[in-house]
Amino acid sequence: MTSAIELKDLRKSFGRTEIIRGIDLTVQKGERIGVIGPNGAGKSTLFNLISGRLHPTSGEVHLNGRRIDRLKPYEINRLGLSRSFQITNIFPKLTVFENLRCSVLWSLGYKYSFWRFLANLHDANERAEQLMTMIRLGAKRETLAMNLTYAEQRALEIGITIGGGSDVILLDEPTAGMSHSETARFTELIKEVTVGKTLLTVEHDMGVVFGLADKIAVVVYGEVLAFDTPEAVRANSRVQEAYLGSSVADAQVGGP
């Protein structure tokens, strides 16, 4: 069986500074990975390298056994990888429904067509409606995305990410900036909508990480310090030293 994502000695430098310093990582299909690490460790850069937003300086990225590190973001997306963003990245002047419909059009094969009416694309409309119900924005169908609350925008961000039906989903701090109760509800939502998919999540909230992931990758200084089950990672002394040892993280893990 080929793995969903395989990184081979992945490196990325900005000028003279090496941000990603040789990462090897293999994610099997259906695995749910939490990526944690201190600020500036290179987690978001790692996601940018996998999703094609940045090209690596050296090393390889494979998706379902296919090399993708020189492809453009849209080519990678067409191969079945989709991502969300840390800073909300939606279509502000389109309605919730239009946002979601935009996310499903390519995967349903409508491409750049201008000889068909959107109103008649029943499968796309149905899928967009379905997504809207899944992310609990059914009541906001005709609301412009820019007029949604922050939490609703985050939900829409997830909706757009899963819209195209990709098997591999990358979520970059999905709960960033949310209140505690919102985070708990949102974690459930993410679990629900990513059933059966390969999931990689960058997250600062340890509660979310341990709730979502069956394996955790600890990234520190552009390297993977540990890649194991949550229990093993928690017990790992090097990880404790580098990251989890802080009282904040302890409080989050033990928190409500």
Partner: protein
């Protein structure tokens, strides 16, 4: 609900067709026909421009390249057709312009649409200058200073349609306008049309839902070029002469300015813009020499206070009307209009006096403006005009403050109303 939308759509399109069909009955003078014909041409041009600007977020400074080159190709096609070299009916000549617009958009668009934002704007500006310079360098195609002229008359046309009388050309333009407007409206409801909006809103995200933003922009650019070319082709038939200025920067700027004035955020905005464009260029410019100055001022005020253009002002008031609160604003609007007229009378008097002083003094110091004799050598007249302006401006500001307050109250009430409806 869907049927009511369908019905209102039928009503709007039928009304549009009827207005175009009956307009020559109302404005049957020579000037009326000229203005109406140019409006149709302008409507297609501004709508095609808005496909880039309003729908795709592409600020083009060189749209006249595509209308203009369409004009040139169309006039050459017309000459080839009347010369017997090309079996092309005169009624289809605008399509030759459309194909030319499409062809040049394929060629130039490949370069321009690779970039977005400021870079895109710069490249279109450069290309516009380049084509304009070319038009003077290649007189074989562009006809040099005198341009290229043609003759649209068909000797023995079907059912007496010779395209000699202006009214026949008007109806040809009207048919093209109706079909093009319908097609461009249809485009907004297609997958490519929607993804074009998405590219305008957030090009980066588009790349992560599987679309190549460059391809989306390029395809939209080509389609816009096609319609621009048709507009240019109609202009060639209408004027029977095409000169280098049709590809010039002034023309491109005009499309941008009036599309913006009309309102780029609504489909019908550029239609209003085009109507204003023709009124300004043909009528307003006859009325006063200072028309460009006024136009610049209007543009400035719109950018600052109503960036959505006239269309958005209309839609905002429609919303107030739908909630039954427009009547409360009637008095304010009346006050704004009255004080505005007063302010304008004073301000434009000053402007006209300056223009008279600078340009027409040889005709004597007294001239008639708005039925009043103004003497540029009489200090009292200057002071009176300034006084009218000051009083008008003061009163206008006073009324405006009251209006803004009332408008704010109504908007808050409407928002609350909407929330209440959503909750139940």
């Amino acid at each position: 609900m869907a049927t009511s939308i369908n019905r209102s759509r039928w009503i709007v399109w039928t009304a549009f067709a009827l207005v175009m069909a009956l307009a020559p009955q109302v404005f049957d003078s020579g000037l009326g026909m000229t203005v109406l014909s140019q409006m149709g041409i302008g409507i297609i041009a501004c709508l095609s421009y808005n496909m880039l600007f309003g729908q795709g977020g592409m600020l083009s400074f060189g749209h006249a390249v595509y209308t203009g080159l369409g004009s040139f190709m169309a006039i050459h096609a017309l000459n080839a057709a009347t010369g017997g070299g090309l079996p092309l009916p005169v009624a289809l000549v605008p399509l030759a312009g459309g194909l030319a617009g499409l062809g040049f958009a394929v060629l130039f668009g490949y370069v321009t649409t690779r970039k977005s934002g400021t870079t895109f704007a710069m490249i279109t500006l450069g290309l516009g200058e380049l084509v304009f310079a070319m038009s003077l360098m290649v007189p074989e195609f562009f006809g040099g200073e005198g341009g290229v002229s043609g003759n649209r008359m068909v000797r023995d046309g079907w059912w007496g349609i010779t395209f000699g009388p202006q009214v026949q050309v008007y109806y040809l333009i009207a048919i093209y306008t109706f079909v093009c407007v319908a097609l461009m409206y249809a485009f907004t409801g297609t997958p490519l049309g929607r993804m074009l909006n998405a590219v305008r809103d957030n090009p980066e995200r588009v790349e992560f839902v599987g679309y190549d933003t460059q391809r989306v922009r390029y395809l939209a650019f080509i389609i816009a070029g096609f319609f621009a070319g048709i507009s240019g082709g109609l202009a060639a038939l209408n004027f029977e002469i095409v000169t280098a200025e049709v590809v010039g920067a002034a023309r491109s700027g005009g499309y941008l300015l009036f599309t913006f004035l009309g309102g780029a955020t609504f489909f019908f905005g550029p239609i209003l813009g085009a109507i204003l464009m023709v009124l300004a260029l043909v009528l307003f410019s006859e009325f006063t020499q200072a028309w460009l100055l006024y136009l610049g001022l209007i543009f400035l005020l719109m950018v600052m206070f109503a960036p959505g253009g006239i269309a958005s002002l209309i839609m905002m008031n429609m919303r107030v009307a739908m909630f039954g609160r427009l009547r409360e604003l009637a008095l304010s609007y009346l006050g704004l209009a009255a004080t505005g007229v007063l302010m304008l009378a004073g301000g434009t008097s000053l402007v006209e006096m300056v223009f008279h002083l600078q340009l027409k003094q040889s005709e004597g110091s007294v001239f008639s403006y708005l039925g009043v004799g103004l003497d540029v050598e009489n200090m009292v007249h200057w002071l009176l005009a300034a006084l009218v302006l000051a009083i008008g401006a003061g009163l206008f500001e006073w009324v405006r403050r009251g209006f803004v307050h009332r408008w704010g109250l109504i908007q808050t009430a409407i928002e609350a109303d909407i929330r209440r409806r959503a909750a139940t």
